[in-house]
């Protein structure tokens, strides 16, 4: 390395190159599907933004992890970062890489897609937005040691930038911000750099907050709260439940509660201001995927340190069975996530009447349209900017669908949603563990599955458009899912056999998994029946496809303990 700047840039590249490759691939495949399928430029841009704008985690890698993953907030001085360069250079270079890489990867993918499909994609305006997003999020991670400030800052960043995006002129393929909004984006970027340099300088000189950690009222409050939930010593299972709750579960519930409280507040203060209404709408809409993505992952509590992922020795040396440990970890995270989702849902549902006055009579007429997001409603929303109508339509549709159900059908739906969340959390935990243990093989298998699925989708689109020999394409489309299913069965059989052989699972465990699968199967059939689908009316192949989701719970019930055992005994 010829200079510290080159060394810092190299370090960032080394940390992010695998993620960069995967995001470039996902962006190209997702964008191609969007442009081919007629979803249009907007869909493709959204895919690219999700890959290169939001959810970028390189700084988090440098920082030792993500939120609620046991990361260390603030600049990573603990990672031998006491380098003989000015704070401005250390921070500025990394932030410049962060911003520039996002822009470069976006422009590269967008230009490739434009050339391949002959459709222009917006470039410079989106690039400016990406720079502001990246710099703000880096600022939130590095400028402070306070997790509370980080959470609030991240939320504020997301809402502010989504607001600006929603105010933009989306005359595809152009997306233009107003001069004022360009100014705001530039100000946010400059301010982020300034605040980060100032905050890191303070940390470098010895952040007084660290020196008096938990000595003040906050420490006393935390001590009091901890006293409310003492660790039970009567059994290992209770202690393990407490451990999972305290190490991540409580934080998930708290974040759900804060979001739930923010929703009526946002509705209440929005009033006549259109921008604030958009913000409130964004808060409600983004809360769901945000919580599922950020709070539903890493139930095994894997840690990251400069790109290395590892399991805690403290966790893995506890004298507790692997299968039970994995299920407790997944169950606690799932239940906490469900609680958070229920709080947000209840809050949004109960707060929606606060917005009734925002909806005009003409807009209101669209609420009861049978088609959610129908063209008429869409036209009105676009004309008036009244996104809140979409929420009312969802409210109406849900009311119609659920309130008409019988008691047992509602219960089945609740059970199904709960088991769905458990399966999701479980699957993500297992994939995380396998990525840690068999990184290359897992990435390889994932890439093959992704590319295979993309090829099938492209083939399906081409058949619909009449491109190529339909008979051959049809045969491929028929055979490949069966091959995939056979591979899944063989893989599942191997995992089950390995889990038995290694004594990770016993017959009692398998009985528990089978019971859960039977319950989910029964709930699934009841819900299908409520939706008017009966298996008798379906051909055999469709029956298999219809009941396949039920097998997910059984598969994760076996896969998750096995995956934990592979990292516990590596």
């Amino acid at each position: 390395m010829r200079s510290p700047v080159a060394a810092i840039l190299w370090e960032n590249w080394r940390l992010t190159r695998v993620e960069t490759a995967s995001r470039l691939a996902a962006g190209l495949i997702g964008g191609s599907l969007g442009l081919l399928n007629g979803s249009g430029v907007l869909f493709a841009v959204m895919i690219l933004l999700s890959q290169h704008g939001l959810f970028w985690l390189s700084t988090a890698k440098l920082n030792g992890g993500r939120f609620i993953d046991g990361y260390k907030p603030g600049f990573p001085f603990h990672l031998l970062y006491a380098r003989p360069v000015g704070t401005g250079v250390a921070v500025g270079t990394a932030m410049a890489y962060e911003a520039a890489s996002g822009v470069v990867w976006y422009l590269l993918t967008a230009a490739t897609l434009s050339a391949a499909f002959g459709q222009s994609l917006p470039l410079l305006s989106i690039a400016v937005w990406i720079v502001a997003v990246r710099l703000w999020l880096t600022c939130v991670q590095w400028a402070t040691h306070s997790r509370v400030v980080q959470y609030v800052g991240s939320g504020a960043a997301a809402l502010f930038l989504i607001l600006l995006m929603s105010r933009a002129d989306w005359t595809v393929p152009r997306v233009d911000f107003t001069p004022v909004d360009y100014g705001l984006l530039a100000a946010a970027a400059v301010l982020s750099v300034g605040v980060t340099v100032a905050g890191v300088s303070r940390q470098r000189r010895g952040d007084p907050r660290l020196m008096v950690a938990h000595a003040g009222w906050l420490g006393r409050l935390q001590g009091w709260l901890a006293g409310l939930l003492p660790c039970p010593t009567s059994s290992p299972t209770r202690a393990q439940l407490w451990y999972e709750l305290r190490s991540g579960g409580v934080m998930v519930i708290v974040l759900g509660a804060v979001t739930a409280m923010a929703i009526p507040l946002a509705f209440a203060v929005s009033g006549p201001i259109a921008d604030l209404r958009r913000l409130a709408f964004s808060l409600v809409v983004m809360a769901w995927p945000g919580m599922l993505i950020f709070l539903g992952g890493n139930a095994f509590g894997l840690r990251r340190n400069q790109g290395r992922v590892f399991a805690s020795t403290f966790d893995t040396t506890q004298p507790y069975g692997t299968a039970r440990m994995s299920w407790i970890k997944v169950l606690v995270r799932s239940v906490c996530l469900m609680a958070a989702l229920v709080m947000v849902f209840t809050s949004a549902w109960a707060s929606l009447p606060l917005t009734r006055g925002w909806v005009t009579a003409e807009q209101w007429a669209t609420v009861t349209d049978p088609y959610f997001g129908g063209p008429r409603a869409q036209a009105i929303v676009e004309a008036t900017g009244a996104e809140i109508v979409v929420l009312w339509k969802a409210h109406h549709a849900l009311r119609e669908a659920v309130f008409g159900m019988a008691g047992h059908e509602k219960a089945a739906l609740v059970v199904l949603v709960m088991l769905g969340v458990i399966a999701l959390v479980s699957l993500r935990a297992a994939i995380g563990a396998l990525l840690m243990r068999y990184r290359r093989r897992t990435i390889g298998a994932g890439a093959i599955a992704l590319v295979g699925a993309a090829m099938l989708a492209l083939l399906s689109i081409s058949v619909r458009r009449g491109i190529g020999p339909a008979a051959i394409a049809g045969a491929i489309l028929y055979v490949v899912p069966w091959i995939a299913m056979a591979l899944a069965v063989v893989g599942g059989g191997y995992v089950l056999w390995a889990a038995f052989r290694e004594r990770v699972l016993t017959t009692r465990h398998i009985a528990a998994v089978a019971l859960g699968s039977i319950v989910s199967g029964a709930a699934w059939l009841v819900v299908l029946g409520a939706a008017g689908v009966t298996l008798e009316s379906l051909p055999a192949t469709d029956i298999l496809r219809t009941v396949a989701p039920v097998l997910l719970l059984a598969a994760t019930g076996v896969l998750t303990p096995w995956a934990l055992s592979r990292i516990r005994h590596s």
Partner: protein, 300 residues
């Protein structure tokens, strides 16, 4: 005959292309202290991680209390107290919570003993782990490791980076575990003087192989440091029977050697030299002779 607590037979393990353990044999019996020594990356921690079931044996056998720690982790870990090299503990926990949590897994938790140790170390139960210094963190980890009076205490580099006071606390705990309860202790260390003082048995690992294993007195008796003088001038170390390392040059050399002393003296005399003086080698001298970078090893 004492009960066998740990039985490792022909254990092999590699990471990528690097061999970390190569046909390692190791046995530990009840009521004794076993010291593992070796240079950085020699394989000590890898061996300990196999005993805890954190690594699977690629080939060979690992049994602790007669069980495979990978297949029966609960049976094995419930009888072990472990202090890891990096003192890995949840940062958010308070010391009191750490004790309560650990207690839940160990029905044999000795509350009086834990409180005594907490009092001796001056630990504040309301302090969070992340606020602890390195030494205090080691003390907290030690209490959690020994308060359930484990049958086997495993300490991975327990003294590294600690001040003399905390180091003494840890060594006292080892002594007490053995003296009071007759438990087995396995500890790895770079501090050879500490190993020499505390251990009944020593196992020296180098490049993944057990280079030396035996009762500490036997090991010391087996190796000697002798000063030899020759009539002729030697540019390179002379070829002497059972010699492991040389210091000095020309006519006078200090040699670390093993085997019968008479054989060594005979080989010196055969080259026209004499043994000026000889004494038992220290563990550090033996370690440097066997594991250090000594070109004379090839020459000898």
């Amino acid at each position: 005959m004492s009960r066998i607590i740990v039985d490792v037979d022909g254990l092999c393990r590699s990471f990528g292309g690097k061999v970390a353990l190569d046909r390692v044999d190791f046995r530990a019996t009840e009521g004794r202290v076993y010291g593992l020594v070796g240079s950085n990356g020699a394989g000590k921690t890898t061996l300990i991680r196999h005993l805890l079931g954190l690594l699977r044996a690629e080939s060979g056998k690992v049994r602790v209390f007669g069980f495979d720690p990978v297949r029966d982790p609960v049976r094995v870990l419930s009888r072990i107290g472990y202090l890891s090299e990096d003192r890995d503990m949840p940062e958010w926990m308070r010391i009191g919570e750490l004790m309560a949590y650990t207690r839940a897994f160990h029905p044999g938790w000795d509350e009086a003993y834990a409180n005594e140790l907490i009092g001796t170390f001056g630990l504040d139960l309301s302090t969070r782990i992340k606020e602890l210094s390195k030494g205090t963190r080691a003390q907290a980890g030690l209490v959690a490791a020994v308060a359930h009076r484990p049958e086997l205490l495993i300490l991975d580099e327990p003294s590294t980076g600690l001040d003399p006071v905390v180091r003494r606390d840890i060594l006292d705990a080892i002594v007490r575990a053995v003296a009071d309860d007759g438990r087995t202790v396995i500890f790895s260390s770079h501090l050879l003087e500490e190993v020499e003082r505390m251990s009944d048995h020593i196992t020296m690992i180098h490049d993944g192989r057990v280079m030396l294993s035996g009762e500490i007195e036997d090991v010391r008796r087996h190796y000697r440091r002798s000063r030899v003088r020759f009539a002729d001038y030697f540019e390179a170390p002379p070829r002497l029977d059972n010699a492991f390392s040389f210091e000095g040059g020309g006519r006078t050399w200090s040699v670390i050697h093993g085997g019968p002393f008479d054989e060594f003296r005979a080989s010196v005399v055969s080259l026209g030299g004499e043994v000026v003086d000889s004494r038992d080698a220290t563990l550090e001298e033996i370690f440097l002779a066997r594991a250090g970078r000594h070109e004379p090893l090839e020459a000898a």
